[in-house]
Structure formats: C-alpha cells, structure tokens
C-alpha cells in the first residue's frame, strides 16, 4: 500500500503535509514525532517566557490538523535508521514503517562543546524545544542569576524571554560581537547596546574554561556565579539518518531545489538540510522557519508526484530585542552602500548589479521590497535604486511593474 512517511513533526513536516495534500488527497501519511506535542511554533518559546503567547496559541495549526489531513502521528518515537533497500523507516522501538516516499524533517540539535566540569552543574539547559523551555521556567525565579553561553539568536532570545523573571542575565560568547552570524560589528554594537540598556551583561571574546557547580571560570579570569546556565553555543543539523544510509551530506542533508536527497524517494526539508542559497550561490543550512515551511511544502508536492521547485531560498531574519528590530537578508559578499541615517542602520550589499544582501536596524517598514529584489534577482538598473536606498517603495519600479502588482492578480 502506498504510504508517505515524514520523520519529524516541526514546521517543515507541516509544510510537507500541506504540500502532499495539495497534490494527493488520499494516500495515508505517517508522521514520526520525537516530541510529544502537535506541531508548534518553535521560535515562539522565548515569547512564551515573556508571556506574549501561551502553549495553546503556540500551536502552529488547528487542533484537527492531522485528522483533517489524513495523518497518523506516532508520538514519542524516534526514527533510527533508513532501510532504503526495502524502503522502510526503522524506529527506536524496533517498529518498521514502509514508505513510498519519505521526508526527513528531523531538525537540528544543540551543539554542546566538551566544557570541563559541566557535569558538576546542576541546572543546565538547552533552549530549543518546549520541554527545554518548561524545564528552564521551572528552574528559575526572581532571585536567579543566569549565565547564557552563546550570544546568537537562540541565546539572546532566551535572554529577552527571561528578562523580568530573573535577577540577572550574563551572556558570554567566543565571538567579538553579538549575533555574529547575521550582523557586522557596527550593527551588532547597536543591538548589544539595546540589550545592555535593559540590564543584560555581556562577556564577549570570552568563554568558559571550567564549570564548578555554580561558578563558571572564564578564560578572561573572571568568575561568573550563576544559578542556572543555558547552553546556546550552536546547533547541528540532524543528518545521521541520511548519512548512515549512504546519502550525500555536508553541514546538513544535501538537497536540490526539489528537496530530493541523493537517495531515491528520500526527501529532506527544514533545519536538517543544506540547500541552495541564491544570494551567495552556495549550499547553506538555512535554519529559518519560512525556509523550513517552503522546503517542506516543496518536498510534499514532489513526494506526491507533483512538480515544485523552491529555488529562491535566501538567509533572512527579522529579530527584535526590547522593541528594536533588525532585519537582515542575503549575503554580505558585495559592495557596501551605507545609507544609515537618523540612528537607523541601512546597509545594502551589491554584487554584479544585483542586491545580494541588506541589514536594517530601526526603520524596517516594507523591508520585503528589498528582500524581493534579492529573491527575484532584479537587476538594479531596472529600478530607481537611489530612491530605494531612501525608502522601501514600489515607486522605484516601472509603471508596468506596478500595474502588474497592484492592478492584477498576483
């Protein structure tokens, strides 16, 4: 009997389900969910700590989502092996699931370097899942001093989430700046300032050399006392299933624009993959929710015999701290045009006559117009780029272009 199997139950899996059902309304779908919850909005865990959402609102889809889409979900089980010869997924309880096609949407896992003495720390947490969040929430109170190791998106959103619930928050990172994967030094300094104004302390270019119970001995010589530590150093794509089955992997499971892996009938989507980043021309792990959904949807359509390509992937982030928003997209490997003014940062990166990336901090209105220039590879000599550097507006496009956008069905 025909059956689709999806390994993972995050947003890429939800996209995959909806992609399959856009093409094939009948064939049963089985979803393997290691976590015991229906698909939820993973990036909202920090907003949960801030009381800006709750577990009910965090559900990504309606309560009848799986039923309505003819899905069986196996909760609390993990896929441990792909038997590609016999087209079966092997589960951790020995169970076997035959598949017609399978989508690996296994996400990523926190990467924890081997810190000396980490085993002596009683309260240590990752910040990736709802269960991580509940555990962290239960372990802290208004008297807690928190150490967060890692000043990337996960570490800093965790800091913002914990703000107001704990006594102090210190963030350390080996890098010389915050958000080093998406911001250059000047921009990072602006965001760091906003965080510091709200009492978050930073130890940059510094790392823990040894943990001793409730103390972190830092490379700089400082000792940081803490009640709980959050380890947010980085994440690693969960590639093992495909790698062990002989499939091609790099930093993630290698996929093409149709989300096929190098193994027949095996697709992959979301944070476990590396796909084509059109802004840099390289294979990249684009661990972002929008890409996860779009990859999942594309995989689903193709698994079900349709034809779909996701060939416009670029890195992109919208991230705010204490009311200050930063938006970034694309690659910064281009010539810089800096149009920052009035305290707002606006940096454009141009390569081969195309916008390849940008960083905005503060004023972010209509930034999607910039993102679309990158995604659509719009030659800048066909738009009024001078005007665009002042403000994001469709007035910079030709009248014909606007007529299509605002006078027709898009």
């Amino acid at each position: 009997m025909k059956q689709y199997v999806i390994i993972g139950n995050g947003v890429a899996a939800a996209g995959c389900i909806e992609g399959i059902r856009s093409t094939d309304g009948k064939t049963p779908i089985t979803v393997i969910s290691e976590e015991k919850y229906p698909v939820y909005c993973r990036p909202l865990i920090s907003y949960y700590l801030e009381h800006k959402t709750d577990t009910k609102k965090m559900n990504y889809r309606s309560d009848d989502f799986y039923e309505k889409n003819g899905c069986k979900v196996i909760y609390g089980r993990k896929a441990v092996r792909l038997d590609t010869e016999n087209k079966k997924v092997i589960l951790d309880d020995g169970g076997e699931l035959p598949y017609t096609s399978v989508c690996v949407a296994a996400g990523s896992s926190p990467f924890v370097p081997p810190f000396e003495g980490l085993e002596t720390v009683e309260k240590k947490f990752a910040f990736m899942t709802l269960d991580d969040t509940f555990a962290l929430e239960a372990a802290v109170n208004e008297n807690s001093d928190i150490l967060i190791v890692g000043a990337g998106l996960i570490g800093l959103k965790c800091a913002e989430g914990l703000y107001g619930r704990v006594k102090s928050i210190t963030v350390c990172d080996l890098a010389d700046r915050v958000l080093s994967s998406i911001l250059d030094a000047d921009c990072a300094a602006v965001m760091q300032k906003r965080l510091e104004e709200n009492g978050i302390k930073f130890l940059l270019e510094d790392t823990v050399t040894k943990f001793e119970h409730n103390t972190a001995h830092m490379k700089s010589g400082a000792d940081v006392k803490f009640d709980a530590v959050v380890l947010a150093v980085g994440v690693r794509a969960n590639t093992a299933l495909v790698k062990d089955a002989g499939g091609e992997t790099g930093r993630g499971i290698t996929v093409d624009d149709s989300m096929r892996t190098s193994i027949e009938n095996v697709y992959a989507a979301g944070d476990c993959t590396e796909g084509n980043d059109i802004s840099s021309g390289q294979k990249k792990v684009l661990a972002l929710l929008p890409n996860a959904y779009m990859q999942g949807y594309t995989a689903g359509v193709n698994m079900a015999g349709g034809e779909s390509l996701f060939d416009k992937a670029v890195p992109m982030n919208s991230v705010g701290f204490f009311g200050l928003h930063a938006m970034t997209a694309g690659s910064y490997d281009g010539e810089l045009t800096d149009c920052s003014e009035n305290g707002n940062i606006k940096r454009f990166f141009i390569r081969d006559g195309l916008l390849c990336g940008y960083i905005l901090i503060g004023e972010t209105a209509r930034a999607g117009i910039y993102t679309s220039l990158i995604r659509e590879k719009t030659p800048l000599n066909t738009v009024n780029f001078d005007l665009l550097t002042k403000t994001a507006t469709s007035a910079a496009f030709t009248e014909e272009n606007r007529r299509k956008k605002f006078g027709g069905v898009v």
């Binding site: 999607g368 605002f406 027709g408």
Partner: protein, 146 residues
C-alpha cells in the same frame, strides 16, 4: 475573487483611503471621535513620488509568502482572503520581511494588522474603495485564481 485594485493614473494622493480604513477598523460610529488628533494606523497607505501616487494594500496573493513565513502560524488564507489572527501574532515582523509589496504594517500595539477587505468589520466591503473620490481604488474581479 474580488480584490482591491488601484489605478495609479487616477489617484490624487489625497490619503482619504487611509482615513476611511482607519475609521472602518476603529469599531466606532463617529469618524471625528475615532480619528481626530490621533495617529492613525491604516491597513492601506499611499506611496509615490513627485509624479505619481497610488495606494498599497494586501494583494491577497494566490501563493502568499506571508502565510508560509509566519512564525506564529497567525496568518492564514480562508476563501482566498489572507487573514491575521491578532491573538496569535507576537509582532516579530517576519511578514514585513517577506511581503514583496510592503503591504503589512504593525498597528498601534506592535501587533500586525492587514487589509482583510473590510469583511470582518461593520463596513462589509472595502471602505477605501467606497470613499475614494476619483474611483482610483476599485473592488472587483480581475482574472481567476489559479
């Protein structure tokens, strides 16, 4: 389905659509009480330069990238209309990051709002269209959905 379309050659740049939109979504019965002396947060806005002006509101795309990108699962497409569940929205602005038309903007409280064609307010049909003095904004069928 019927959508809001603009004819930029007829737009006077008067911004009345913005006020009619803000009023229609205010829940109040008197325009002066609703808007006078207040900063307005309309779901349509007039753009342009010294030569042309035109109004921008949600295109209700056939393949809406905002729906696919919303990290809160707050934006959905129902019967062709792109709607936002303000209760679920956390104001992350990812929809602003991806909308190629610049059609979404946060409201007063930082939560996103967008044109829902006045289908969920007392107006019942787009107030921007009803109040446009030069019929530069229209509400009609133009081509079928794929």
């Amino acid at each position: 389905m019927k959508r809001v379309y603009v004819n930029e050659e007829w737009c006077l740049g008067c911004h009345l659509c913005e006020y009619n939109c803000a009023f229609a979504n205010s829940g109040m019965s008197d325009m002066a009480t609703a808007l006078k002396g207040k900063t307005i947060y309309p779901r349509i806005h007039v753009e342009g330069d010294d030569k042309i002006t035109y109004a921008v509101s949600c295109r209700h795309c056939t393949d809406p990238i905002c729906v696919k990108s919303c990290i809160a699962g707050a934006i959905t497409k129902e019967d062709g209309v792109i709607k936002i569940n303000k209760d679920k929205c956390v104001g992350c602005l990812t929809c602003v990051l991806v909308c190629p038309y610049g059609a979404l903007a946060p409201g007063e409280n930082g939560i996103m709002q967008k044109c829902e064609l006045c289908l969920n307010n007392s107006c019942g049909e787009p107030a921007c269209v009803a109040g446009c003095p030069n019929r530069a904004i229209v509400y009609e069928e133009r081509g079928e959905d794929k």
